[in-house]
Symmetry: C2
Subunit: 593 residues, 2 copies
Amino acid sequence: MKKIVRLALAQINCIVGDLEGNEVKILNYINEGKKNDADIVVFPEMAVTGYPPEDLLHKPKFIKDNTVILNRIADSCAGIIAIIGFAYREGAAVSENSIDDKNAALYNSAAIISGGKVMKVYSKVILPNYGVFDEKRYFTEGNCCDVFSFDDVVFGVNICEDIWHPDGPTKVQASLGRAGLIISINASPFHVGKHLLREKIVAKRAVENGVTIAYANMVGGQDELVFDGGSMIMGSRGEMFARADCFKETMLVADVEMNSKAVQKSVSVGNAFYVGTKEVSHELCLLDGKLKYKKNSVARFIAPCLEPLEEIYKALVSGTCDYVKKSGFNKVIIGLSGGIDSALVAAVATDALGSENVMGVALPSRYSSKGSVDDARALAENLNIHFDVIFIEEAFKSFLDLLDPLFEGYEPDVTEENLQARIRCNILMALSNKYGRMLLTTGNKSELSVGYTTLYGDMAGGFCVLKDVPKTLVYKLSNYVNDAAGSKRIPLNTITKPPSAELRPYQTDQDSLPPYDILDNILQMYIEEELSFSEIVSSGFDEAVVGKVIRMVDCNEYKRRQAAPGIKITPKAFGRDRRMPLVNLYRGLRHNG
Amino acid sequence: MKKIVRLALAQINCIVGDLEGNEVKILNYINEGKKNDADIVVFPEMAVTGYPPEDLLHKPKFIKDNTVILNRIADSCAGIIAIIGFAYREGAAVSENSIDDKNAALYNSAAIISGGKVMKVYSKVILPNYGVFDEKRYFTEGNCCDVFSFDDVVFGVNICEDIWHPDGPTKVQASLGRAGLIISINASPFHVGKHLLREKIVAKRAVENGVTIAYANMVGGQDELVFDGGSMIMGSRGEMFARADCFKETMLVADVEMNSKAVQKSVSVGNAFYVGTKEVSHELCLLDGKLKYKKNSVARFIAPCLEPLEEIYKALVSGTCDYVKKSGFNKVIIGLSGGIDSALVAAVATDALGSENVMGVALPSRYSSKGSVDDARALAENLNIHFDVIFIEEAFKSFLDLLDPLFEGYEPDVTEENLQARIRCNILMALSNKYGRMLLTTGNKSELSVGYTTLYGDMAGGFCVLKDVPKTLVYKLSNYVNDAAGSKRIPLNTITKPPSAELRPYQTDQDSLPPYDILDNILQMYIEEELSFSEIVSSGFDEAVVGKVIRMVDCNEYKRRQAAPGIKITPKAFGRDRRMPLVNLYRGLRHNG
């Protein structure tokens, strides 16, 4: 017998900690689901709390409050099944406002709500504790792979990491549980190419187990992460059945035809078996939904895939918009040097917040070329943003005068360069404070990797848009910005002139650094691939250059520790993703390749 | 039959990543052990790599190099048994320089070296993944509770967290393994009172299992952690048999009389049983040591316990000394405001590095009282440190002039206060850059909690000595410094005058903050105890004050994210210990207490 199930995947942008805001949003989409005659409406992992809530999970009242909200939401779920991610304290009654034991186990869970009640809770079995994830810090692993029956359709729920493992819950639910549909709820963060990887994994899992998979992902930025959405429904032959847009809050509604398997209702079909090395059990739970036969199936919608540069740019825009707005700001200020990094940041900010909310300030010193201010002004005109020029010479001179007696006998060095960068920081932060505009900082990943940047100088700011964008990618994205607009938003001269910090006469970046294409290749191998000195050299790079780059990366961890947050776009970003000690004398043993 | 075993616990100060430096140190203490006729010499957890090596553990070559070093050390161990902490890659031959599989499981392990060879490896069973610890990010849990026989003395090895759990490896090793001696190797970080807690736990474990426990801890600072040593030998009735000094690299040598249990040599005495929820096995391994009967037992040494203020002060001195020196500096610079925070930091720095390596600079503005510079100068004279005065008025005026056109129509506010703090940052960092002196920043935990501090201003610096020291404790420690010296190192006026940032006329801290004793109490409840607004209010604090303090703590996470590292002295420090989201709109549900 064939059944049609109408699924609504609510790909929402939650805010961490904003329980009541998330509640309102979830209720809106439940209503949308009802209006669209959906049978099941699905929300992302941890939709009630936002993800990742980090150490908020250590606050007993936070867990209690999230349970209260979940129950309030359940009250509004008459006539629809809802699957909603939340934090579940073992023993906490989810159908009433009980006082829970703050020492009981905590789970990363999904509430299965039916008939206006939380009928069951599924808890994530496989907890990620690598990269940016710290889930074993907070959660106990779930050990039960329940399936649920909706009329004759049997489905299982998975949470994020669960679906990535061939021996995970899906296998149990599909085989012993005889589920034909797996509903996977996620808060899976973006990096370039991640969406394609996800589709591959979901297709593989669907085919292996002969199940349809409904994959609902979160969308929007949270601190250094961007969730890219791309929710989807994958058929049991690995065919894409429906896909939502990436980087957009939306609800994907689709009718799925299910071959209902003959399930012995109300009878437990298994006892105990293994997922990986863990003992898990499953049981069958019947929900009280009544299957409504649909006359007209909704149209399939398959959003197009994004090209890499497009998805990265959208991630930067989405991450910047959400960090600024969720932090309570709507306006930003940016120091415009006339260079390519600040130009790209200004373009991102304009697309994220609107040109009326972006202010650019050029802060030329005695070493700035006239061209730099012109380029900055041209950019501001192209982007239609507010623009000011403040000459820092007077301030610079006053510092040199103050310091003159103490610098006697010392040669000029990087100190005088840093002075200028820190004067700019002081002026930009003063404008930020006075105007209530968040300062966006403009450094890129290449600079931050080798420490070619001034702490409390150009590193200062509330958010570092390009923190995970290597310099060579900054160029590609700048060209993408111009190509996409069909016009020169970023002035050509900014893109073509040799990069320079302009902190001493005739300076260019390449006085201190290898050419950026070489530098970025070495950085990729050393930081992302964890290759050693010898391995990098043997792939064709100069020994002295590789040695210098590695030394610079290792010695500048202290700067990165005090860096502003920024958007993760690569598989390994600085920040939570790469946790290096500050004191670290490891330089590699010589004799051992 | 009774046997006497001479144990040497090497309480050493390792440096993370400095494999060759740690090797030299370990070899020195192995020689010391031999000279002292020790049977077994014991080193801390991860002695080869330093602890915590964090994401260095993701570098395949780092793991390989640490194995090479371990094997080189083993070569020098003829005639003595050595227990040494290292990172063990499953399948990596530890007795030869093999190429290992970088995807194989990694363990936090102890090498049991005998006859110049790594005879066995014990791997930590219970991995901490809370507080500052991320061990599940790196390591697989050990599943084998071996015991080892040295002549007729049977001993087991534990690693740090293992000993904290009543159902941990000790229980298995003592019961089924019939071990009479447990050697526990540790990298257990300090917080106030931690040593007493450790002694209680170790005594409990000894009594429960009828074993002698030899507990070797690391010593010295690593980034935000200080390891306090306090290695000890606890008898099976829970009596302290020997204890090393805290905060001091040393070797504790003691003869321990063992009632050797009758052990069937070479026979496995058990198959598989459980530690906690994990399946573990154990086997008996005979080492080739030959027991030397001792004529003269070494004297028992039981170092005295430290009082709380003394141990905190020593932790600050030790943490500062090691962070500065291990980072490659030996000199520091400190901005001296005449206030108590910078005075205490200067005292700590002087005790850590010597007065000849500390430079104090007073940076008075138009709002500084004459008394402030006098107090700073008096402090510098008392501590015998270099002292300079730089008036920041000219720089301040030049910024006000530059900004004048942009500030038109705006009232003076916190912007002008921050300007001054950031001018001081720029001058201090310029001196730091020019002289090669690390800038120590002087903020305390109370300020940092509520954000009463300027980002890129007084927050700037390489190390924040008082980062985890609440203001009320700053007072106690300052009095302790004077009492311990029997003289007024910190000027009385600095201790008694009302605290002020002196950034506007007649300002005192209490214009913006509740009195510090109230503030610190609320902070302790909110941050360390994770109590909610209502819970704090119901313990007797004013609603409006509690609400304001919580709001300030929540809204200033962004400042703390860019703060300098500093020494953990409480059970919950800022940094790795408390991981709060930046975007966080949680304010607590009203109706739900």
